[in-house]
Each structure stands twice: as C-alpha cells, then as structure tokens.
C-alpha cells in the first residue's frame, strides 16, 4: 500500500523529536557548558600576560578557528581510538564541540572582559580585593552583559553544527531524518522537516537571549 506524504510526516515526527531530545539538545547543552568553562580558562590565559600561557591560548584558538569542525570531529572520533582511547560517538562529539566552542567563545569572553572599564578594577582594588575576587565579583558580572549577544550567536551556531555529529553515527535530528529518508527516497520532505526542528529550537533560544539581555541590562543607564 502506498504511504501518503501526510502519513510519512506523521510517522517521522516522533523519531525526529526523539533525535532532538536525546541527541541535538543534550549534545548542544553539554558542549556549550563545557565549552564556556574552557573558553573562560583560555580567555584568562590570554589576558594573563604570562608568555607561555598566552602562547598556548593563541595556538589553541588558531587551530580551532583554522580547521573545519568536521575534521576536528573526525580527529577525535577516529583519531583517539588509534591512539589508544576508543570513544563512543556521543562523548566524541561532546569533546569536539566543546573544544570548538572553547576556541570561539574565548575570544568573545576576552573582549567582554576588556570592555569593563579599568576604573571598576581600580575601585575593587581600593576596597581590598585581589585579582580573583575582582574578577568574580566585579568584572565577570559586568562582562556577562557584553558577552550575551555574541555568545548567543555561538550557541545558535552550535545547535546547527551538532548536525555534523550524524557523520559519526550520533542519532540526532539529522541522522533520524536520514534513517527515514533512505528507504523512502523522500529526502526533500525529511530534510525539510529536520530544518524546521532546528529552526524552532533556534527561535526558542533567540527568545531566551532577549530575556537574558533584558535581565542583564536592568541596572544600566540607557
């Protein structure tokens, strides 16, 4: 019996949703959190003024920005096993995307830290704060305001970049679509449907960005 287009769409909604909930979203969330932590470390290394740390940070950012994400993913997934560290697809993808976010976001965080006026640091020093306390209590809360729009860009790019994980057999939205599209030859329909899933997730994140910006802008004179 011939399956109607509508039936195919209905049959696909759940597997794609599953790909989103079990693949795309956790992959994005984990990679973003680990990536931001790494980015902060790299940004602080670059700002440390200690030559070896600055050098390592610059080298890392250069490699991450100068090589394709898909190649980075392959290097981790296929390369680490041959070096004696076999990894499952999902953790491989989390590592690759975290490193990638770490490289890009470190530049955002560095710029945001530099955007906080020097007088803020000086005022913190005059009430007795050391460098770490000044960073945590005074500089980072203000840098966050500057960093939210560009970091939202990074996050939204990451959502879409996670589709590359389908190339190392992680079952996320795109791979779920491929699995259904293969036997039916309905590539246009399934990939179109996958695109809608990504788009909706990005819309939600854009909305969250607007909220976050409004929240962080509360205390600043317009």
């Amino acid at each position: 019996m011939e399956e109607s287009t509508w039936d195919l769409v209905r049959r696909s909604l759940l597997p794609l949703a599953q790909g989103m909930l079990e693949g795309t979203i956790p992959l994005t969330a984990l990679s973003f959190v680990f990536g931001l932590a790494l980015a902060l470390v790299v940004a602080l290394m670059r700002l440390s003024g200690v030559a070896p740390l600055v050098g390592v940070a610059r080298f890392f950012v250069s490699v991450i920005r100068g090589t394709p994400l898909l190649v980075q993913l392959f290097l981790i997934y296929y390369g680490l096993p041959s070096a004696g560290f076999p990894l499952d697809p999902f953790p491989s993808a989390v590592i690759a995307f975290s490193l990638n976010v770490g490289g890009y976001a470190s530049e955002v965080i560095r710029a945001a830290i530099l955007a906080v006026p020097k007088g803020q640091t000086e005022a913190a020093m005059t009430i007795g704060m050391g460098r770490a306390t000044t960073l945590r209590r005074i500089v980072l809360p203000q840098a966050a305001r500057v960093a939210v729009p560009p970091l939202s860009n990074t996050l939204i790019s990451l959502v879409k970049d996670t589709s590359l994980a389908s190339a190392v057999q992680v079952t996320e939205v795109l791979r779920a679509a491929s699995i259904i599209a293969g036997p039916t030859y309905e590539f246009f329909l399934l990939y179109g449907l996958a695109a809608v899933y990504y788009w909706v997730l990005c819309l939600v994140l854009s909305f969250a960005q607007t909220r976050a910006e409004a929240r962080l802008d509360r205390f600043v004179a317009k």
Binding site: Q120, E122, A123, M125, I127, G128, I138, R218
Partner: protein, 266 residues
C-alpha cells in the same frame, strides 16, 4: 585613634602619612621628580596644580594604583620602598598592604553598576574583610545616613544623580575603615550645582577627624578645610604651607600665575 581612622586629641608621634623621594616616569615623561610630604593623623592635605603637574600621580602612588619608580610611602605602620628590587608578587603584596590602609574616591565615582547602593558600600567589609553580613549592613546604612542617602540604599547607581553617586563613593571608601581617605578630583566631573553637596560631606568628614588627601581645583574648599596645601608643577612640590600662606600670599611666581588663572581663566 578609635580604629576608624579618626583621632581624638593630639598625637605627638610620627605623622600618619610619610612620603620620601617619590620618582615616576611614563616613558620619557618624568612626572614625579622627588616628592616629599607628610601629613599628621586627622589632617587634611590638599594637592593643587595644573593638569600634568603630577598631583593625581602622587595621590595614586599612596595606594600603589600607580607604582612609583623610586621612593618610599608609609601609611600608619605600613611602609613600602619602591624601586627595581620590588616587583612581581612582592610588589603586588606590598601594594595590597598599602591599599588596606586607605580608601579612595574617584573622579568618575566608579561605583559597581550591578550592585545596589548598599551593596556597593558593604562589598568591601563583607567580601574582603569578612565582617558579619548583618553588622556590615547596619554599618553600611549608618554610612549612607551619614552622606544623606539612607533612602537610596536599595537603588542602583544609575538611578542616582552625579552628586549622589559621588556621596555613595565616599561611603564605600569609608566602609573599609581606612586610616586615610584619598580623593582624586571628586567634584571635577560634576555639574556645578552638584559640587556643593559633595564638598559639604567632605567638610563634615574633616571636622570628624578623618585623615584626608584631596586633589582638587576647589579653592574655597582648600581655604576652609585644608591643614596644608601643596602646589605641584612639573613633578615637584613648588610651594607648601597653610591655605592662607599658599593661596593668599604665595611666595612663588608659578603658584601666583596658577591661582590667577583659576580666578580669571580668560
């Protein structure tokens, strides 16, 4: 001394603040060429001079926001000898020890925008000095009362006028219970009608016995409040003495010309 930097009665001991042979260059620009000064506890020292004279650099050397190339700074029982031998971690530690002796009020207030007015004042006592939060809160509110801003405690700095912001800056500086309070042109960035409220607070502090070092162009304040006035030009102290001596009967031609320009800029 009651531990708040205030002094009851006269003390005949060493001056609270003592500076010897301060030197500082920014590249080829020799901004401090041997500065000596001292100030007894409870006194008000006013530094005046044209822009580029080094007065702000002197003030910022007292808490090591600017690191002198040579010379010593002593505040209370913390003395630091600057020079090539003092660098890296040792310099950072020495600077921190000096800063623990003082509070500072900036030209552009530098209040923390993400904290409330009260949090700005209690941040140092709570986070740095580890005083109990409730105690710091009570003390903070008392300080805000002191500068007439008790009712602004829960607002954020951007909601305040320039003069109010600067008064919060003063409360924040006092909250860490410094030996000496440094004022770096505290009224220069203010609209003229807001200058008075800030100067009034500073005048009260002087009357209470706080030790203060003030860089300012407010000659009326200097005349009424200062115990000593230092006129700087070209990185040296050209003339020093009581306000009436320096401001009304200056011996040096440079001092006279500077004061003349203040009175009659055209």
């Amino acid at each position: 001394m009651d531990g708040n930097g205030r002094v009851d009665g006269n003390t005949a001991e060493a001056p609270l603040l003592e500076v010897r042979g301060l030197q500082k260059s920014f590249g080829d620009n020799h901004v401090l060429r041997g500065i000596d000064l001292e100030a007894p506890a409870g006194s008000v020292t006013v530094l005046i001079g044209p822009s580029g004279s080094g007065k702000t650099t002197v003030l910022r050397s007292l808490n090591a926001l600017e690191v002198p190339d040579a010379g010593t700074v002593r505040v209370g029982d913390v003395a630091v000898e600057f020079g090539p031998a003092l660098s890296g971690r040792a310099l950072a530690r020495a600077g921190a020890r000096l800063r623990a002796q003082s509070g500072m009020v900036f030209q552009s207030h530098n209040l923390f925008p993400h904290l409330t007015v009260l949090e700005n004042v209690t941040e140092g006592p709570v986070v740095v000095q580890r005083r109990p939060r409730e105690q710091a809160r009570t003390d903070g509110l008392a300080l805000l009362e002191r500068v007439g801003l008790r009712e602004k405690a829960d607002q954020h700095p951007f909601q305040l006028s320039g003069g109010q912001q600067q008064r919060v800056g003063i409360a924040r500086a006092l909250a860490v219970r410094p030996q000496i309070v440094l004022f770096d042109e505290p009224t220069s960035a203010l609209d003229p009608e807001l200058v008075g409220e800030v100067l009034a607070v500073m005048k009260d502090l002087a009357a209470e016995g706080w030790t203060m070092a003030v860089v300012t162009h407010e000659m009326r304040f200097a005349r009424q409040v200062a115990d000593q006035v230092l006129f700087l030009d070209g990185g040296v102290i050209v003339e020093r003495g009581t306000p009436s001596a320096v401001l009304e009967d200056p011996r040096e031609e440079r001092t006279r010309r500077f004061l003349q320009r203040l009175i009659d800029p055209l």
